[in-house]
């Protein structure tokens, strides 16, 4: 508990100048134009692995990200990082993610890892499946290590897909349902980069379907997503 309190209330360390400069460069970049048509837009599909599902106590282990540019995934334009952990995650979690304790300890220093991620991301909008977890984990890490309030446009495929395919909504819920429906194989489930890859393929499917439904851009997709999100008055 003491440890948790320390993490929440400690004043964040001041970044060394080189890191501060990288962060400033990212902050100064022009924000993404959300009305850019799909054919020109770059979206970054992200997946994170964590020590557990508790947003309060668990921490970020790795980030995998894949860019979808103009509807295509450039294999070289992808990103993967493991964050150095001060405490190795529980045994059962190691089994799920397959990231061993050694690799966890050997990962990149968190501030560097996050700055690398920001450099890769640029201001491209983020996409995930069940984005809430990814968003919360990334936001907290950004605040903790970079003292950055990470406010970024996000899109959640878990809500967008049912909105695009109302007929399938009833019996397609988790990521595996949707990827199975479109024949997308996942070579290595619970590996951030591999999960980001299948999620990116799902986004490719969504973009084609969106075009058919005359949904032109990211902001229109977000409107559609919100209409399907829980709590939205039907």
């Amino acid at each position: 508990m003491k440890r948790l309190l320390k993490r929440w209330f400690a004043t964040p360390a001041r970044l060394p100048p080189a890191q501060a400069a990288r962060l400033a460069a990212w902050q100064d970049a022009a924000p993404a134009v959300l009305s850019t048509p799909f054919a020109q837009a770059r979206y970054v599909v992200v997946d994170v692995e964590t020590t557990g599902l508790n947003l309060l106590t668990d921490t970020l282990i790795s980030i995998g990200a894949v860019a979808v540019v103009g509807g295509r995934i450039s294999l070289a334009d992808s990103f993967s990082v493991v964050l150095q952990q001060d405490r190795v995650s529980r045994r059962e979690n190691i089994l799920i993610h397959g990231i061993s304790g050694t690799v966890q300890r050997e990962g990149a220093p968190p501030a560097d890892a996050l700055l690398d991620f920001l450099a890769y991301l640029g201001k491209s909008p983020l996409v995930a499946f069940h984005a809430a977890l990814d968003e919360a984990m990334i936001r907290r890490a950004m605040r903790q290590y970079l003292n950055l309030s990470f406010k970024h446009p996000w899109l959640d495929l878990a809500y967008l897909m049912p909105a695009l395919y109302p007929a399938l909504a009833r019996n397609h819920r988790v990521l595996d349902d949707w990827t199975g429906r479109f024949g997308i194989h996942n070579a290595a489930r619970h590996d951030a980069l591999a999960d980001a890859m299948v999620t990116a393929q799902l986004l490719q499917v969504a973009l084609v379907q969106a075009r058919l439904k005359h949904v032109p851009d990211f902001s229109a997709l977000r409107d559609l997503e919100k209409s399907a999100a829980p709590g939205f008055p039907a």
Partner: protein, 636 residues
């Protein structure tokens, strides 16, 4: 950290050719690849998109290839590509448009590699290059489809009934003033060989039309005074269309009004004249139509036109993807028909049915015509065989036949079959012989084995009856087959002679080029197969003259496996196709300025695309194998 997930790598190296490539090259490729999604039914690549822009590797899903060349009959050739397969290798190698429509058969994800990177990778990785260019059968298939797509594309543009009239009218119309006399107008029509005459006023406005068709009813039968003004007998009810009207509108107008001509008029001025015939030329010229034209032709002029139609149709057939085997046979068949008609017309005049010679002469085709392998470049190679009627000597018959043969040779020349420079023609007294005389000549050649005799044998032993008393030719064939079959010495000499001509491949399997960096497709490519087939057939008593038939018919007796023979035949036909295409391209390049149409067989291999170049090498390699078989059989 940029990262390619190991699973992409493990996927890709499960499939050929990536499984045999160096890891470094696979990584190089992956870094340049994009993953694209195609919804079920979506078109991935089609001929309309132009030159192939990328290589696709199917990550998951099914891709269906559909024949885009509109086929009248069969809806065959469905290509089904599965996970791990690459396409369209042929089109990429050839830097051409794809021949089929590739469509996602299910939700499909494909890795894509840009064409430029594909070509870099070809240069970088030998296993990849081999995979893309290896199997000749596949490649031939690709090449054939690609060529079909190219040709059907150009012919669709040139000939569609959807073309505007401005694109079809060929020359300025021939016109006269309305007060020209009927006599003068008809003379102009005859001089210019035109079927119609339009009278216009000084501003070029059309006033009336006279067609050859009208002449009978309006001039000849009523026996009018031909000194009167032509406008008096012209049709003044004119049908006209603007130049931007489409060809099918003209066809409809003609059909509706029963006119054979439509005037193309822009701002009231006559700019062109379109006949029914011009429109027919747009559509596929029917085989039956040409055939019947030839059979009923009674003047050389009509036959000349038919010869032009044959060439035109040969192009159309190439466009429709007719294989070279059928195409050359088709050309030969129609040339036969044409030649037979020429011979028939001349013979009817020279020796009418009462004449003792009427039933005892036969016109023979030799050389490529004898083998039914004519291309658009065809010199005359012909001869006459006759039976000496009672009471006459061979010399007397010859004397009578030579002027006839000379007329036939000249008429054929006018129909587009140039006179043979080597004088191998029926009008040469040496080649207008009785059956007994032919046997003597053949015996001399077989016995002497001199270079000239062997050369003659290669031309004359491919003889075939074309018109007349065919039984004479059959007797000569039976005699020759018998005479040569067991003659190992002669066959050995023929084989040795043929092996002097080697396919132009260097030790490292690159081309050895001759004058102007070119290869003679006929001498270096076709001749080894033709020569070998002739020797095989003579050795095994096969009476056929066609190279493909000879190879197939003699293979069993020579204990050559069927697959091997088919590889030879494919190689032979591929070279034939390159030749036909080369002739076609040359002929169309020379057509605008008119007359000279000297077609050669020389191509520069550097001008060929990568695909054709590789197949040509493979074809030459097959030619070597055929020669190796000859060398083995005759211990050379």
């Amino acid at each position: 950290m940029s990262a390619i997930h190991p699973s992409e790598l493990t996927f890709i190296i499960r499939h050929a050719p990536f499984d045999s490539m160096e890891l470094e090259h696979v990584m190089w490729m992956l870094e340049r690849m994009h993953l694209a999604y195609y919804a079920q039914g979506e078109i991935i690549a089609s001929p309309e998109q132009g030159e192939a822009t990328r290589m696709w590797v199917i990550k998951q899903g099914v891709v269906l290839g559909e024949q885009s060349v509109a086929k009248a009959s069969d809806s065959d050739t469905w290509l089904e590509l599965m996970e791990g397969e690459c396409f369209p290798l042929g089109a990429l190698l050839a830097k051409r448009r794809v021949a089929s429509i590739y469509r996602a058969g299910s939700d499909t994800f494909c890795y894509e590699l840009a064409a430029a990177d594909f070509h870099t990778l070809l240069g970088m990785s030998a296993p990849f290059r081999d995979f893309c260019t290896r199997r000749i059968a596949n490649l031939l298939e690709h090449s054939k489809h690609v060529i079909q797509a190219e040709f059907s594309h150009s012919s669709a543009e040139q000939q569609s009934l959807a073309s505007p009239l401005s694109a079809i009218i060929r020359r300025a119309p021939v016109t006269c003033a309305p007060d020209t006399t009927v006599q003068a107008a008809l003379e102009i029509m005859r001089e210019q060989r035109i079927g119609s005459m339009v009278a216009t006023d000084q501003q070029g406005h059309p006033l009336g039309i006279l067609t050859l068709h009208d002449v009978l009813e309006r001039v000849a039968i009523p026996q009018i005074d031909t000194a009167q003004a032509v406008i008096n007998i012209m049709s003044t009810e004119l049908s006209s269309l603007p130049p931007h009207a489409l060809a099918h509108e003209a066809a409809l107008l003609m059909a509706r009004r029963g006119f054979r001509h439509v005037l193309v008029v822009e701002e009231h001025k006559l700019i062109g004249l379109l006949s029914e015939k011009d429109l027919f030329a747009l559509q596929r010229v029917g085989l039956r139509q040409i055939g019947s034209t030839i059979r009923h032709a009674d003047t050389p002029e009509v036959l000349q036109q038919a010869a032009a139609d044959i060439r035109h149709m040969a192009h159309n057939m190439m466009a429709q993807g007719v294989a070279p085997e059928q195409l050359t046979q088709f050309i030969s068949t129609f040339n036969d028909l044409l030649t037979a008609r020429v011979v028939e017309l001349e013979c009817a005049a020279a020796c009418p049915s009462g004449d003792p010679l009427h039933e005892s002469i036969c016109w023979m085709a030799l050389g490529s015509e004898g083998r039914l392998e004519q291309t658009l470049k065809t010199d005359q190679d012909n001869a006459i065989i006759f039976k000496v009627p009672e009471g006459m000597t061979a010399n007397q018959v010859r004397e009578k036949l030579l002027p006839l043969a000379r007329r036939i040779n000249e008429t054929l020349d006018r129909c587009g079959f140039p006179l043979c420079k080597g004088e191998i023609m029926a009008s040469n007294p040496k080649w207008c012989l009785s059956r007994e005389e032919w046997q003597e000549v053949f015996t001399k050649w077989v016995d002497s084995g001199a270079p000239e005799s062997l050369l003659h044998a290669t031309i004359f032993f491919d003889f075939r009856a074309l018109y007349g008393a065919e039984y004479l030719v059959e007797q000569l064939r039976a005699w020759l087959t018998d005479h040569v079959r067991g003659n190992q010495r002669f066959l050995h000499q023929m084989a040795a002679n043929s092996l002097r001509n080697r396919p132009p491949l260097g030790i490292v399997r690159d081309f050895i080029v001759g004058q102007g960096n070119t290869i003679d497709l006929k001498l270096n490519g076709i001749t080894p197969f033709v020569d070998a087939a002739r020797i095989f057939s003579l050795a095994t008593g096969v009476g056929k003259t066609n190279t493909v038939q000879r190879l197939r018919a003699s293979a069993a007796a020579l204990r050559v496996p069927a697959t091997e023979v088919e590889a030879w035949i494919n190689a032979f036909l591929f070279i034939q196709m390159l030749r036909l295409r080369h002739h076609y391209e040359e002929a169309s390049a020379q057509l605008p300025d008119g007359e000279t149409r000297h077609l050669d067989n020389r191509i520069d291999p550097a001008q060929l695309n990568e695909l054709d170049r590789r197949i040509l090498k493979e074809a030459f390699r097959q030619a070597r194998k055929v020669q190796a078989k000859l060398a083995l059989d005759y211990q050379l």
